[in-house]
Symmetry: C2
Subunit: 217 residues, 2 copies
Amino acid sequence: MLLANADIDNSQALTERQQAVLDAALRLLVEEGDNLTMTAVARRASCSKETLYKWFGDRDGLLTATVQWQASKVRVASVDGKGLDLASLTASLERFASDWLSVISSDTSIALNRVAVGHAGSGKDDLGAVVLENGRFALARRLKPVLEAGRQAGLLEFTDAETAFRTFFGLVGRDVQIRLLLGDRLELTEAAIGGDAARATQQFLALFGAKAGPQGL
Amino acid sequence: MLLANADIDNSQALTERQQAVLDAALRLLVEEGDNLTMTAVARRASCSKETLYKWFGDRDGLLTATVQWQASKVRVASVDGKGLDLASLTASLERFASDWLSVISSDTSIALNRVAVGHAGSGKDDLGAVVLENGRFALARRLKPVLEAGRQAGLLEFTDAETAFRTFFGLVGRDVQIRLLLGDRLELTEAAIGGDAARATQQFLALFGAKAGPQGL
DNA sequence: GGTTATCCGTACCGTACGTTACGGTTCGGC
DNA sequence: GCCGAACCGTAACGTACGGTACGGATAACC
């Protein structure tokens, strides 16, 4: 689910072997966090450090390549907004919500966000921007057309799609991501995710659904 | 505002000088992120490295002491729930919301959360737990009585205070914290914070206010 | 079969930084 | 005035790790 890098792959000239190396680096990143060593990556990937440096320049290059490689793999599924009624809109929103919760609670996402947050402090590279672009902003790009379609169909009422999206984002994510990033155990079962997605969707519809007045500016 | 460590200070036997050292470390942490060196701290605090090690054990000890020191300073103001009507409840909620937004958008909070997130990966210390305990969970402890009072006064309707709190948390924070942690520029002016706090409060009241039916489980 | 390119494995170098050790100074107690 | 404790400044040590160099193996190509 929610993986679909089939069509246009932005893997800029990555050979099979290089992808395997990046996968190894990614696995190591999940296990070790940001304190993975080049030696460890080389050993895990069964390649030489010299090759790593030839291919990726330096440690930061390897890290960004790894993050981009993973980012190119995780894609929230898109939704077509034709024949929209309340049921299908609700289903779409719930789908987005549960997909998003699945992503942010996955080990790889947590690890990637951790290293990106860490690097955002001493801004050598733009890992934070990459993660943000392929995470929160990609989600917005996918969801906003659905919201707009819902408004066109008379199902939703809002003035600014960005504001509506951010509210939905907040209702879905709540404190989950920061708690996970800070190391809080918080296992999200499939069922819990489904329940949260449904709840968030209902709350969003209560706030932005047509004929439900009280949503402010 | 929102600082009140007057009464019971949990500064466990920290001399004036030690607090000054921790303040210096904190300032350096904000500037340099997690890659601050013991030498830099010693120089900034005008103390010797030997003293640092005698007082705080090792680098991690210094870091946790710094985080706890800051945590003991930042306290969200508490609210008394007597004579509660809709206006005062709204005011309290807005106050909580804007205080919280001010905290999470402050430089020190961002820096502290960054290092805590980074350390949560390779779990040597419990910086994440400390931050979580003094951030998100402290907020919940302060806010829940207000919510309960609101329910007692017939102003709010909810079955689980935790769920209600988490919804409020999501409506207030939305994507702000993760974006800031990932390095997104996002200056929150006083006015913007006030507006967001009011919006979040209104949305929360729309969902959980009495005589507003549609809030699900 | 020879040549060349690619890459693995490993040894090596330089450096940054955590940690420790030590001499010099201040200061309170007697 | 002397002693010891606390502390500053700095030098020194050990190590981990990023980055580089080199020998040997494999394979493609002629």
